[in-house]
């Protein structure tokens, strides 16, 4: 385990930034933290987490896939793919690190999404253990240990010191790059913080929420559950939950006519939108109830069914705090699953 003084982090960022782009959570003018490209002097936020999840780094909201150039009546197809550059993301929380597993299973299984794969390959994740979880946190429900997040490197932040431990070869290489700026450390302080955090985690309001009732094979049990009607009745049909969600991975492919050609790009889509997966005959999800059900059935039943029991929710709590009408997966799990946490 390596450590450095919190006050020395600027040097660490500078050292890494000499060869890779560095991103870290920085407090914005609006009071929220957001992953921001590091520049000299930018301060690592103390916020628990960002509003936008770090999935943007691998699966950005919009991304050009290919282009067509038109000249009169001729069309030329342009391959605009290029290899991603190396980058490091600092401060990814345990829940969000876990979300990359969820995304990987979608984008890295055959056929591999080359855009995603390239970014994943070139990105180094420095996770950050939690010490002050919020009431909206429930990563424990999905078996995630907030005090020991995965990632290429795990970091723990105390009052004045940052501890690092490499988990992968990529991580080890990163620590190697900054070896001169860090020193060897015992894990006592980390252990103490973990202990303390665990007692807090146990006291969280959602600490006892479980996934017992859910998982693959539960489609029949839940699909026609009468509670969907009531749960979805206030849903506005906006895309906030899906867009702040670290595991939502649906996208639409669209074309933009630039006047001189066409750009084919993809952008996040939301199963909450009435236009989602609309086909020539219309839409098979007729009302917000069906759209709402789709989202939660996907997270809690369909996805685990296809992915060895892995749920596509990591308990980050973003939808709990950001839904305009405060309807969220916890309320759904408790109502449908009969789980009173």
């Amino acid at each position: 385990m390596r450590k450095c003084a919190l006050s020395a982090m600027n040097d660490i960022f500078a050292a890494i930034a000499s060869s890779k782009t560095v991103y870290l959570p920085v407090d914005g003018a609006d009071g929220n933290a957001a992953f921001t490209k590091w520049e000299d002097g930018l301060v690592w936020s103390h916020a628990l987490n960002t509003v936008r999840s770090p999935k943007d780094f691998f699966f950005p909201q919009t991304e050009d896939l290919m282009a067509f150039k038109t000249e009169g009546k001729t069309i030329e197809v342009i391959d605009i793919r290029k290899e991603s550059e190396d980058f490091v993301i600092f401060g990814v929380r345990a829940c969000d690190v876990k979300s990359f597993d969820v995304l990987d299973r979608v984008f890295l299984s055959e056929p591999v999404d080359s855009f995603y794969a390239s970014r994943r390959e070139h990105g180094v994740i420095v996770s950050l253990a939690c010490s002050r979880p919020s009431e909206t946190c429930f990563c424990g429900t999905f078996g995630i240990d907030a005090t020991a997040p995965a990632g290429d490197v795990t970091a723990w932040k105390t009052e004045d010191t940052v501890y690092f431990e490499a988990n992968t070869a990529k991580g080890a290489a990163l620590l190697k790059d900054i070896e001169a700026l860090t020193e060897e450390a015992s894990d006592d302080a980390v252990k103490a913080q973990q202990e303390k955090t665990k007692t807090i985690l146990a006291k969280l309001p959602l600490a006892n929420l479980t996934t017992e009732a859910f998982g693959g094979g539960k489609t029949k049990e839940f699909f026609n559950h009468p509670a969907w009607e009531e749960l979805s009745q206030a849903c506005l049909g906006c895309g906030t939950c899906t867009f702040v969600c670290p595991t939502c991975q649906c996208y639409d492919i669209k074309e933009f006519n630039t006047g001189n050609g066409v750009v084919r790009y993809r952008c996040w889509d939301s199963c909450m939108y009435s236009e989602f997966t609309k086909m020539a005959h219309g839409n098979n999800r007729l009302t917000q109830k069906e759209r709402f059900r789709q989202r939660f059935m996907h997270k809690l039943v369909y996805y685990p069914e296809n992915n060895d029991g892995l749920f596509s929710c990591v308990g980050c709590g973003r939808c709990l705090s950001k839904c305009p009408i405060s309807m969220n997966i916890v309320k759904v799990m408790k109502t449908i699953g009969g789980n009173n946490g």
Partner: protein
């Protein structure tokens, strides 16, 4: 995908001098969808048009772009060419490369480049053009004239003479309007009744004219060529078809103290009355507010004396429904109320009267049998003061009067002054004026006669106050030319009250969806070029409802309105302009924004059942555009938040395509 032909015109050297037309044709030939592109010296010539026609056939064109002069010049020409070639005329777009390109740019490369871009925009638009067909609607060959004054009478007569049926609706028991109350008319001083009453008789006897007197329009539905109108006939308690107008009932009626509105309250009439001797229809009317029989069930004298048995105390208001192809508004004017003009003591002294009251006072059929007598005591007056512009041109006192000039007062005041001096040379007559306005044939001559031959004392200045004192009206005034204050002891003061549109006009305008200005005068479709048409198709304007007018002007406008109506009714079918708005009901919210901005009242709403995306059926309020009424301005399309409203020929996507092509 369209198959587009591009035709670039040289216009001799007009275009070709600054634009390389061959380069334009060549450049546009590479645009997607263009299957044929050529240039020619004069595209509008017969040979040029023949070339277009041949090309349509040869290349199976579905759309045509002509790069030529302004569409204002030859759009119609090329649309006809397209029709002749078997294409829909609206599949033609013009790129204006003459007026807006070759003529304003001097440099050949620059002009050529711009011409190509304008051509591309036209090509982009034609891609999205769709064939348009003008809607057809039948025309009901009957006109409605609302108002039976000289304007309405003249309009009705002219329409009727052309062979069309006309109905006149008049809210008073008789037609005739204001003109029937006048004494003499300027500038010829012929008697109003002598020229009006024969027309009243003519119109009443005309086989094509029906008169609904004592009636009002209560509902208007429909649109140009197809109005459905409900007319409310007030109960007059006298059977119109039986009454002979003998007047026996009028003589016998015991209730004789009803203020006579025809004489503006200066004398009385019975509860059953005929407004004046030449009234049309000459039928008695019972005033239910004063008739003892109707109020208390006691009396019944009139029924007893009526040998024709025309009296019917049980008569009810009656509603008549009729269809019309055109509606003429001729609701006329009234003098404004003098209540707010305390300075002239109108409400304090009977000897302060309005000019219209003065008309009755000098009229042989009036309350004094035409003798000039002071209303308060019937004495012969010696000094008369006329005050002009009372409530007119009132820029500083908008809450009291009107900002506009009432136009007729200068002339009738000159007339009044002259009449007084002619009959009673012993009477001193003063006229206070701001300006004397006499822009009419023989008008200024008339005014000068009043001053020069009749010795009327015209004083430029204003009357500040009129104070009734010991049977005399103390008039305080200023003489602006001599810069002095004047004090005149007058026996009578005559106020040239401003005129305003009749009160019935505003609700009528709402029913007709015809627009009005802030003074409640009806607005014309165009102030210069369409002065007798309302912006609402099929509604026409006659007389003072559109603005202050004297009799000759009213009569000429009445004739003009009639000719417009005749032009409309002469058609069997109305062919609409197909470039009108239409609403995509699936997207319409029914919010009324579009109807709020429509200047023509072309948009109505209906509740319609829709299959919703979730397969339920819902009743939704949606906009409907009447293509026969819409004029195609497109205002509604921008007011519509959902984009449900679009305009044929200038659709959103067409304009966006033009923008895109230009900004490429």
């Amino acid at each position: 995908m369209q198959r587009i032909g591009v035709f670039v015109c040289w216009c001799g050297s007009n275009i070709a001098g600054t634009v390389d037309v061959k380069a334009v044709a060549e450049a546009l030939s590479h645009e997607p969808g263009v299957v044929f592109s050529t240039d020619y010296q004069y595209m509008c010539s017969q040979a040029g048009q023949d070339m277009i026609k041949a090309s349509v056939a040869e290349h199976h064109l579905t759309g045509i772009v002509v790069c030529s002069c302004s569409p204002r010049m030859h759009e119609a020409t090329f649309r006809k060419t397209a029709t002749a070639a078997g294409l829909n005329p609206y599949m033609v777009e013009i790129a204006n490369i003459r007026e807006q390109c070759s003529w304003v740019h001097k440099d050949m490369p620059i002009g050529t480049e711009k011409a190509i871009i304008l051509g591309k925009a036209a090509v982009a638009k034609v891609h999205l053009n769709a064939p348009l067909t003008p809607g057809e609607s039948p025309v009901t060959k009957r006109a409605l004239v609302i108002g039976g004054g000289i304007a309405g009478i003249q309009t009705a007569l002219d329409i009727a003479d052309a062979g069309f049926k006309v109905d006149i609706v008049e809210k008073k028991p008789t037609i005739g309007g204001k003109m029937a109350q006048l004494d003499k008319t300027f500038p010829t001083l012929d008697c109003a009744a002598c020229i009006l009453t024969p027309k009243m008789v003519d119109v009443a006897q005309h086989e094509n004219v029906r008169i609904f007197s004592y009636s009002e329009v209560s509902e208007v539905k429909g649109f140009v060529g197809n109005f459905d109108v409900t007319i409310k006939k007030h109960a007059r308690f006298v059977k119109e078809d039986l009454c002979t107008g003998c007047g026996a009932c009028v003589d016998k009626c015991p209730m004789k103290k009803v203020p006579n509105e025809f004489n503006l309250g200066m004398d009385n009439r019975p509860a059953i009355y005929i407004p004046f001797a030449q009234a049309v229809p000459k039928v008695a009317t019972i005033d239910p507010a004063h008739c003892n029989m109707l109020k208390n069930g006691k009396c019944g004298l009139c029924a007893r004396v009526c040998t024709a048995g025309a009296i019917d105390y049980t008569q009810q208001d009656e509603y008549v429904q009729e269809k019309y192809g055109a509606i003429v508004v001729a609701t006329g004017f009234n003098p404004i109320s003098m209540d707010k003009f305390d300075e002239f003591a109108y409400n304090q002294s009977k000897d302060v009267i309005t000019s219209l009251e003065f008309e009755r006072l000098t009229n042989a059929a009036g309350p004094t049998a035409g003798k000039l007598l002071r209303p308060s005591d019937g004495a012969h007056p010696h000094t008369l003061v006329f005050v002009q512009c009372v409530g007119s041109r009132c820029t500083a006192c908008a809450e009291k009067g009107k900002e506009y000039c009432s136009k007729i007062c200068c002339m009738y005041t000159a007339k009044h002054a002259m009449l007084v001096r002619d009959k009673y040379p012993d009477v001193d007559v003063y006229v206070f004026y701001i300006d004397v306005r006499t822009p009419g044939k023989n008008f200024d001559e008339f005014y000068r006669r009043a001053v020069e031959e009749y010795g009327v004392k015209y004083i430029k200045g204003t009357v500040g106050k009129v104070v009734p004192e010991n049977g005399v009206l103390k008039v305080q005034a200023s003489d602006l030319l001599n810069n002095k204050q004047l004090h005149i002891d007058a026996d009578m003061v005559v106020l040239a009250a401003a005129i305003e549109p009749d009160r019935s006009a505003r609700p009528l305008a709402t029913m007709l969806t015809a627009s009005m200005d802030t003074n409640d005068f009806f607005t014309e479709a165009h102030p210069k070029l369409r002065p007798v048409e309302s912006p609402t198709a099929g509604v026409f304007l006659s007389g003072a409802c559109q603005g202050p007018k004297d009799i000759p002007e009213t009569v000429s406008q009445a004739g003009a309105a009639a000719s417009k109506v005749i032009g409309l009714l002469a058609k069997d079918k109305l062919m609409g302009n197909p470039c009108v708005a239409s609403s995509n009901e699936a997207m319409c919210n029914g919010c009324s924004s579009c109807a709020n901005v429509c200047p023509y009242g072309a948009i109505t709403y209906e509740d319609k059942e829709f299959r919703m995306p979730d397969r339920t059926v819902a009743l939704r309020r949606v906009a409907k555009v009447n293509p026969a009424v819409c004029q195609g301005c497109g205002c509604c399309t921008v007011a519509c938040p959902s984009g449900a409203m679009d305009l044929n020929g200038f659709k959103n996507d067409q304009i966006l395509a033009e923008v895109d092509a230009i900004c490429k």
